[in-house]
């Protein structure tokens, strides 16, 4: 018999009561089947309750001992569906099928009793913690629930029809155009409407002095203190070179027509009155510049020398010439050449030299001239390209160290 908390079921035969339903079931029931001791048999407990429901349970432990088999059933709360009397039959089966069935016996399971929860009245710390957490979660859930209900209420009260439709323009969202910068100008000549245009920072920087520039400009002015030059006393205080800083007076600082060619006495301004470098080429009149530019300057004058090379017509030519040099002077496009040829003893009728300083662009027969050597030998000298040619009317003998000096002029482009 199974008795919970020592409570005995009413009208229950002790030997037939196996337990009660509910959490309190923790009893173990034993059955012993004599004459069956085969560990290949599996057992099942079939239960039928008063309300007609059935349950089949596999025993927790089966122990054959040679003479019989002990079946151990630890009664669990889900084994018995309802309290009261119920029927039980034990069935044994092996792989071939049913081996045996016991007779159906009638047993009793008492009603569950309330569980006495001593932990609730005297909890430990873990329980207290869990309980507090549960309370906390409960409170949070309550808040959330309250908020949800509040939101639901708001949603219910919200009439979507009262909302504005989605706008398709910036103005619809209250966004207007920014400042119009089209009238901002950076240069003075771009001012088209003085009432509408306004200056950019670049304009201000370009056309207005900042304080540093004003300071610099003021520092360059004459000090208007006692003894200084002013408009009402300038006549008595002559302005001399010593009182004028370099470049202090420019054309912009002179009154109109204050100083001009018409009101300067002749010779009033001389070179002694000009500072070094005060008069430069760009201050000269155009006709003066043109006149100056037409003159030769040092860059157009070149002097130098050179050595002629015999343009070999035959082996004799080279042997006849001991030395052949020239000097030249170039003035613009005109070159004067002074040649000096020293002969060895021999004779020739025609000889050419190369290596003159320039290849002339204009050659005429007028360049031909009669030259006479230091021994009064007469020959014609002339130019062809950059070649100097000496020619005699017939084969002419020259003596050792006989010298021929001559001058030729060529013109370059």
């Amino acid at each position: 018999m199974i008795i919970y908390q020592m409570k005995k079921p009413i009208e229950c035969y002790d030997t037939d009561c196996v337990g009660v339903t509910g959490d309190n079931i923790a009893y173990t029931q034993y059955f012993y089947i004599k004459g069956v001791s085969d560990d290949l048999i599996s057992y099942t407990l079939h239960l039928r309750f008063a309300d007609g429901s059935v349950n089949s349970i596999t025993p927790d432990n089966v122990i054959p001992d040679g003479e019989g088999t002990e079946i151990r059933w630890i009664v669990k709360k889900n084994d018995i569906f309802s309290h009261g009397y119920f029927e039980l039959q034990i069935e044994g089966r092996n792989k071939f099928g049913l081996v045996f069935q016991t007779e159906i016996v009638r047993l009793y399971a008492d009603e569950s009793l309330p569980v006495e929860d001593s932990e609730y009245a005297n909890p430990n710390s873990e329980t207290v913690k869990l309980r507090d957490e549960a309370y906390s979660v409960l409170e949070e859930i309550k808040k959330q629930q309250a908020q949800i209900e509040q939101n639901v209420e708001k949603i219910k009260q919200t009439d979507l029809d009262n909302k504005a439709d989605k706008s398709t323009t910036l103005a619809g969202y209250g966004i207007t155009d920014g400042e119009n910068i089209g009238n901002k100008v950076a240069e003075k000549n771009k001012i088209t409407d003085e009432d509408a245009n306004y200056p950019s920072i670049g304009y201000l920087h370009e056309y207005y002095y900042d304080f540093s520039e004003v300071d610099d400009a003021l520092s360059g002015k004459l000090d208007n203190t006692a003894g200084s030059v002013k408009t009402d006393n300038i006549a008595s205080r002559a302005v001399t070179n010593e009182k004028i800083a370099n470049g202090a007076i420019t054309a912009l600082k002179l009154a109109n027509n204050a100083v001009s060619g018409n009101n300067i006495a002749q010779n009033q301004i001389s070179t002694n009155h000009l500072q070094n470098g005060a008069v430069t080429a760009d201050k000269l009149a155009d006709e003066v510049k043109t006149s100056i530019n037409s003159k030769y300057d040092s860059s157009n004058v070149e002097t130098g020398s050179g050595e002629l090379t015999v343009y070999t017509q035959s082996a004799i030519d080279s042997e006849l010439v001991k030395s052949c040099e020239f000097k030249y002077q170039k003035f613009g496009g005109v070159v004067d050449i002074f040649f000096n040829i020293v002969f060895n003893a021999g004779s020739f009728s025609y000889m050419q030299f190369t290596g003159l300083p320039f290849a002339p662009d204009i050659i005429s027969n007028q360049n031909r001239q009669i030259s006479v050597t230091s021994k009064n030998t007469q020959m014609t000298s002339y130019l062809t390209n950059s070649w100097l040619t000496l020619k005699c009317t017939e084969a002419t003998a020259v003596m050792q160290d006989e010298v021929l000096r001559g001058t030729l002029q060529i013109k370059l482009k």
Binding site: E302, T303, G304, S305, G306, E307, T309, Y311, T312, Q313, K327, Y328, Y350, Q352, T354, G355, L356, P357, F358, A359, T384, N385, S386, W387, T389, K391, L412
Partner: protein, 80 residues
Amino acid sequence: MEIKEKLTLDMLTTDSVSVLKQQYITVDGTDIKVGDNIRNAYMNTQTERELLKVKLPVEFYNAVIAVWGNSPTVAEPTAE
């Protein structure tokens, strides 16, 4: 004191060139010209192309030939 020589190819045309040779010394970082200008002109004849090759450094010669081309443009002088 080192004397530096400066060559200038002047009036270089397909038919002629004038070679200017100048000498300099350097004093306190400034080049000062010394001596005369030495100048000779050469025509684009076969003889003077060969003469130029002897007279000029190769890089100057190559510069002239780059303008003159591979063959003479001026006939050799002849006796009149």
